[in-house]
């Protein structure tokens, strides 16, 4: 087996121990991220940039009483490390007390989830260029222009505290996305994959799908309004990535969230969504594996957030849990929405009039009390009439409450990992199904293609 990218777990442990020996603080925590990132980017049917870098970042948190400060550095020669430790201590001594600081954790145990795939860790520039060339050739053959991006990461992260925590976890990730446009700029199509394992990236299918979605039939106008929509998994994932942040008990208890109860408290235990909505996180989910610990060293395990439409639980920091005399619950590190049995073909066939959406752009929050967002459709928006896709249509801006969306579910497809970040970097793993939603507010036309 090829050597893993970045420093080894043993190296990270040795650096952490060196820091603890240098430390004069009451408590100390060391977080290290060590790894490699490579990328290849295509535009105008040529490779416009490609490169890579190895980097190791060490974050040292020093604590005196309740005075806390952190220093992050990428130098780990003896002198530099000593300087960073002393600087974090000097800053901590100067800092006012943090009343919400909770002592560092002691020894924890973490589940072992294999998330490092050698196929990804050994992905060379020439292999990335060859995948890019498949898309360039496919687009050229169809008279189109390809723009693509492949983002690859491999490395190890660790957490250690002066009170006995040590955890390390190696992982890889790769995201590959392609936008193909007609030469006159009047049509655009997109496809993409994200995975921990390079073997699960389907370069040929991505080229086929993006080029087909971009095929040269003319867009026509469609009036804005409320439509039945079929959201492809990428579109669902881009919205669910936002929803993840709202699974927070403190903002709910403080009256600043959809999950706030009128008059105080939160809505844990209330049924708020369609019966078929099940949302959970699981750091061991196949090909969406994440670290089994967070940056403070808390173990992360499988956790239900929404079960059969009911709010199962919300994340609580150690401080907030202590205030309430409850167990802390770390925030999710990935998000899985349980799939159903409906196929895309069945969803289209059962739609009298509706719109199929590929992905979104520029999603921004509007009203957190109803979890509403705005954003735009992009790179594949099609009209469905009488059970068939009949034509591509102009793009739309949407203004939509995610709560209402999850209450208006008609059909659910099988779940897949998607490239959910707008910039197509490897991001928080999101595994979601295709959804058919009875009503979705496409509020105005966008002339963008």
């Amino acid at each position: 087996m090829a050597e893993e990218k970045g420093l080894s777990s043993d190296d990270l442990k040795a650096i952490s121990d060196r820091i603890f020996r240098l430390s004069n603080a009451d408590q100390c925590r060391v977080n290290i991220n060590s790894g490699w990132r490579g990328y290849t980017r295509v535009a105008t049917n040529r490779i416009t940039s490609a490169g890579g870098a190895d980097a190791t970042y060490i974050n040292i948190t020093s604590v005196f009483g309740k005075r806390v400060a952190s220093v992050r550095t990428n130098s780990f020669e003896d002198d530099a490390l000593l300087a960073a430790v002393r600087r974090s201590e000097a800053m901590a001594r100067l800092a006012p007390e943090s009343p919400e600081y909770v002592d560092e954790l002691n020894l924890q145990s973490y589940q072992d989830n294999q998330a490092y795939y050698e196929s990804t860790g050994t992905l060379e520039a020439i292999t990335r260029a060859e995948a890019a060339a498949i898309a360039i050739r496919q687009a050229e053959a169809a008279g189109q222009i390809a723009a693509s991006y492949m983002d690859v990461r491999a490395g190890t992260r660790s957490v250690a505290t002066s009170k006995g925590v040590y955890g390390s976890h190696s992982s890889t990730g790769v995201a590959y996305t392609l936008t193909s446009r007609t030469r006159d700029g009047l049509q655009s199509g997109w496809a993409g994959d994200e995975a921990n394992d390079w073997n699960n990236i389907e370069s040929q299918r991505i080229a086929d799908d993006a080029v087909v979605k971009c095929r040269d039939w003319r867009k026509t106008a469609l009036d804005p309004g409320e439509y039945t929509v079929i959201l492809e998994p990428t579109a669902v994932g881009m919205l669910m990535l936002r929803m993840m942040n709202s699974f927070n008990q403190r903002t709910a208890d403080e009256g600043r969230s959809y999950f706030s109860k009128a008059g105080g408290g939160n809505r844990i235990g209330e049924k708020l969504f369609d019966d078929r909505i099940n949302i959970y996180s699981d750091p061991a989910y196949p090909d969406a594996e994440t670290s089994p610990f967070n940056s403070s060293g808390q173990p992360i395990i499988r956790q239900d957030w929404i079960r059969s439409g009911t709010v199962e639980d919300l994340a609580r920091s150690r401080f907030w849990a202590g205030q309430l005399d409850q167990e802390p619950l770390p925030a999710p590190s990935n998000l899985i929405m349980q799939g159903g049995n409906d196929s895309l073909e069945e969803m289209i066939a059962s739609t009298k009039r509706g719109v199929l959406l590929t992905r979104f752009w520029y999603i921004r929050g509007l009203n957190p009390r109803i979890m509403s967002y705005t954003g735009l459709t992009r790179d594949g928006t099609f009209l469905i009439e009488d059970g068939k896709i009949t034509r591509p249509v102009t793009n739309f801006r949407f203004n939509q409450s995610l709560v209402e969306m999850l209450q208006n579910i008609e059909m659910i497809g099988s779940s897949v990992r998607v490239a959910a970040s707008e910039n197509s970097s490897v991001s928080t793993p999101i595994v979601v199904p295709t959804l058919k939603v009875s009503s979705f507010n496409l509020s105005s036309v966008s002339d963008a293609i």
Partner: protein, 548 residues
């Protein structure tokens, strides 16, 4: 020579040390000269002093960088450039009466970019030894060679003057990294204390982020340029909760980031202003919700700058217009160059926009860009007509036949040592009117309008047509006067029609510089810090929606 007005939010303290601001190379248009005369008459002049602060890059670092360039050239690159970059961040944050974050980051490394045939390769390392740097340079050449074999392309670099020993430092009086954490913490806690005095204010978050970039650039053409860039970002966000817990409203984005030292923070009077911002948050709980429909819109520069960023700044990036960002940030409605340069009307004939890497206080203000091109100022929209894009050295050639300009406008930037430079937005600013209309004068020009202050939720499509922008505070204007606060306002429209609805602009006294540290572009995504100056402006008959 020309000077823009000192922005109204930068007049607190303007004495400083540091390099002189770069002055434009070309004689600007007569409109600019008239403006300049008005400003000089008002006695507002930019300081111009010699550099005094020491820069930290050493001679051994210079040798290492030149070694990397030599290795790249000797292993097959016809052109190479490289950078040693040290970036420091310091963040301190407070929530109510406690400090929630004290974090400093120090990142140091070297990179090289190599051109083989027409293809680029890039590599970077944090190991600053001769061997590691040589391996990095060979890697960059190998990547460029592989790319050029798989997909060959042509690249022509615009001519640039050589600067073999150049220096530039952000003009400043107080290095933010020399101000103690205690001072910063005390300021934040006072701001929160003042905000929390107001009825129904339950939460107040405040923070200060300081950034220092020390950059040494070398090119195989012989330029060696040392620069120190400083930026600072004060941030305050205040939350009001209704007594029965059924509603909450926030007031944020109250002040702007800037490319300046800590004297900028001291000139803002944050603590004494916090109570006023908190009162606005509390008032929002009681304010009536807006009636949707057509309204005249008066955009305060604290809101308008982000509209400029989104609807003028981004679509005039040449790489975006030509499809280089198609897979992420999108393309542009200002396209193709042959049909739009000197032809596309984007507003009334008093509308002027410049790209400006020399703007005082600007976050994208610099001495030279990441390809050694000196900072400059140039017109982007002249008399309402689109005339030029933002460019780098390889891009200048793509449109020179339409613009007549063969040199780069100096818009290359990579966010840190790990990142390959590419075209990034300069400060793109809208010039104030020649008549020095005040804010009240502009408001007096409408009988039924809405004044918008502060940036809110912003969203625009990937060709920059469909806008939906909100703000922080909204005031109904009746019969030429501010009448009452409104809430739940967003303005929507299509960019060309929106700018052509511009009716009245304020004068130099209303000129204000808004900014963001978070201008995102590229894959891998990189962030750029950028400012936009503008006067208060009145737009006629704009569609307003209710976001409640």
């Amino acid at each position: 020579m020309m000077h823009l007005p000192v922005p109204q939010n930068h007049r607190g303290s303007t004495s400083m040390t540091g390099a002189p601001l770069q002055l434009p190379h070309d004689i600007p248009r007569r409109d600019f000269l008239r403006l300049s005369a008005a400003v000089v008459a008002a006695g507002i002049l930019l300081p111009s002093t010699k550099p005094v602060a020491a820069q930290s890059m050493t001679s051994s670092e210079r040798e290492l960088l030149l070694h990397a360039i030599d290795v790249a050239r000797s292993t097959g690159a016809q052109y190479a450039d490289g950078r040693i970059i040290r970036t420091q961040f310091e963040a301190i944050g407070a929530r109510e009466q406690m400090i929630t974050q004290v974090q400093s980051t120090d990142s140091f490394g070297i990179n090289v970019r190599a051109l083989v045939g027409g293809s680029w390769g890039f590599s970077a390392t944090q190991v600053l030894t001769r061997d590691a740097v040589a391996a990095m340079a060979r890697e960059a050449v190998a990547i460029a060679t592989a790319n050029n074999e798989v997909a060959p392309s042509d690249t022509v670099l615009a001519q640039v003057d050589v600067f073999p020993d150049a220096d530039w430092i952000t003009p400043h009086t107080v290095d933010p990294f020399d101000v103690s954490l205690e001072d910063k913490a005390a300021l934040l806690l006072r701001i929160n204390e003042e905000a929390l005095r107001v009825n129904n204010i339950r939460f107040s978050n405040s923070s200060i982020l300081s950034v220092k970039e020390e950059r040494l650039l070398a090119t195989s053409e012989g330029s060696v340029i040392r620069q120190t860039l400083m930026r600072i970002n004060p941030s305050i966000n205040i939350t009001a909760i209704s007594p029965d817990g059924s509603d909450f409203q926030t007031r944020g984005a109250v002040v702007e980031p800037a490319g300046r030292g800590y004297e900028y923070i001291r000139g803002l009077e944050l603590a004494s202003s916090a109570e006023g911002w908190a009162e606005e948050a509390a008032m929002k709980l009681e304010a009536p919700s807006v009636e949707p429909g057509k309204w005249d819109l008066v955009l305060h520069p604290s809101n308008l700058w982000l509209t400029i960023h989104e609807s003028i700044g981004h679509p005039t990036e040449l790489d975006r217009a030509l499809g280089f960002e198609a897979n992420y940030a999108g393309t542009s409605f200002i396209y193709p160059p042959i049909d739009v340069i000197n032809k596309l009307r984007l507003g009334p004939d008093f509308l002027q926009f410049v790209g400006n890497r020399t703007e005082f206080g600007g976050c994208a203000t610099t001495g030279w860009d990441d390809e050694g091109v000196p900072a400059e100022i140039w017109p982007i929209i002249e008399d309402g007509l689109f005339v030029d894009y933002q460019t780098t050295r390889e891009q200048a050639d793509w449109i020179s036949q339409y613009t007549g300009i063969t040199r780069s406008h100096g818009c290359s930037y990579g966010q840190n040592w790990e990142s390959m430079p590419f075209q990034r937005m300069p400060n793109v600013s809208m010039l104030p009117g020649e008549n020095d209309l005040s804010e009240d004068d502009v408001i007096a020009n409408t009988d039924r309008g809405i004044l918008v202050e502060g940036r809110g939720s912003y969203s625009i499509d990937q060709q920059r047509y469909n806008i939906q922008f909100a703000g922080q505070v909204f005031w109904e204007i009746r019969n030429g006067r501010k009448y009452r606060m409104l809430r739940d306002v967003a303005y929507v429209g299509r960019t060309p029609e929106f700018w052509n609805a511009l009716d009245t602009i304020g004068g130099p006294s209303t000129y204000y510089l808004g900014a963001s540290f978070g201008d995102a572009k590229g894959q891998p995504i990189q962030v750029n810090a950028v400012s936009h100056g503008c006067p208060i402006s009145l737009f006629r008959d704009i569609d307003i929606i209710n976001t409640a």
